[in-house]
Symmetry: C2
Subunit: 214 residues, 2 copies
DNA sequence: TCGCGAACTGCAACATGTTCTAATTCCGAA
DNA sequence: TTCGGAATTAGAACATGTTGCAGTTCGCGA
């Protein structure tokens, strides 16, 4: 992920970048996404990313610390969009269980719509070092917000800063558990252990277990 | 992990290896563990592993498909030992909740006793490809067995083959959820998101939530 | 004991993430 | 408009996972 000095982490850095720089970053990220879609983690060769986005390798490393950093940035963008969509059109069901199932169904579909990209970012997340903790934390906080909103049947709040914690102790606990199960299932999918459908089933049964004691 | 042709996956291959070969494999694995302990995933340079174990690089690749494969093999050995220990000395508490908390406390302590090694294998697990699914599945089945045993307050069964599923639907569901939370928390620890103590706390609160509805 | 095929060795080679450098270009403040 | 420092570039260089190969050694069946 971007260095403390460089800026792409939208949550944490003042916009100190010229328009031309923002465009470069955009091209880099888009190129990385395209390559990831085409063949997963290994297909994202940074030389190719640099070529495709028309920047030098050194420039890429100016804005991103590592290959994982680029992919983490991309998935965080994706996740921000999901939050906005859920803020606009929250799950409608009357029962909390169903709202949560729908939330994770949407999140899973959204992510795995581009399966190779999804595999790439999952690998990036799993392998990321302490340096990327900020990105991971942002993702986590955003997901927590969506989960708590779905639990309560309220629309998610895309506006207030991520740093503001939401939910009661118990709501946050449930959010954590569901995120762990989701992430871990997705890793299993990415490793070829089971199909996407299994991820959805696991979320459903976990949600029922946690909310209704099974 | 070892190739289908080569044999270190104890659960799945008849012992077709000469003693000298088994010794080589042992030296390779031991060297990898030692290097992992010293500096984590990156410190396990396969050239160094080969040097330290007195085999050629090509030989190493004859028995293991990749760097991850070596580490997965090592962690599976560790996990087999945990199963044996738990079979001999199961958690004693009267309450299922406490037995499970103890199980995960022991498992977590056992793994993170060598923190750098643990970080290395977690990264290997998370990044492993479909080819390693067998190893991962074995780990999963072993953990499931221990969890179901702890749920019931019985000693774990280290003898019957892993392929034999244990537990009711509900027990297996609980086992899956707990494993997901455990794995995912450990990844968070390995990424520097939180300390080991947090992993223990998360397991405790998850177990309480799942067994007692919080 | 002999001879064969498999296992092993040493080493070179390749791919790709990451770093470094010297030269060039760009941009905003004076 | 001009100037100086920051950004960018091209490309080399390095580390390490992985593969390939030619030659050597080992172990086992006849």
């Amino acid at each position: 992920m971007p260095t403390d000095a460089a800026e792409p982490v939208s949550e944490f850095s003042p916009p100190r970048l010229a328009v031309s720089q923002l465009k470069r970053i955009r091209r880099i990220v888009d190129a990385a996404i395209a390559l990831a879609e085409s063949g997963g983690f290994d297909a994202v060769r940074l030389r190719d990313v640099a070529d495709a986005s028309g920047v030098a390798l050194g420039t890429l490393y100016k804005y991103f610390r590592s290959k994982e950093d680029v992919l983490l940035f991309a998935v965080n963008e994706d996740n921000e969009q999901l939050l906005r969509i859920l803020a606009a059109r929250p799950p409608e069901s009357a029962r909390a269980t169903e709202r949560l199932v729908e939330l994770f169904a949407r999140a899973t579909r959204g992510l795995t719509r581009r399966p190779n990209f999804a595999r790439a970012v999952l690998r990036a997340i799993a392998a990321s070092e302490a340096a990327s903790a900020v990105q991971q934390a942002a993702f986590h906080l955003r997901m927590s917000r969506m989960i708590v909103a779905a639990l309560r049947g309220e629309p998610a709040d895309a506006a207030t800063p991520l740093s503001e914690l939401v939910g009661s102790e118990r709501e946050r606990l449930i959010a954590r558990v569901l995120q762990h199960v989701w992430f871990s299932s997705l890793i299993g999918w990415a490793s070829g252990l089971h199909p996407i459908a299994t991820v959805m089933e696991r979320m459903q049964e976990t949600i029922e277990l946690v909310l209704e004691g099974g």
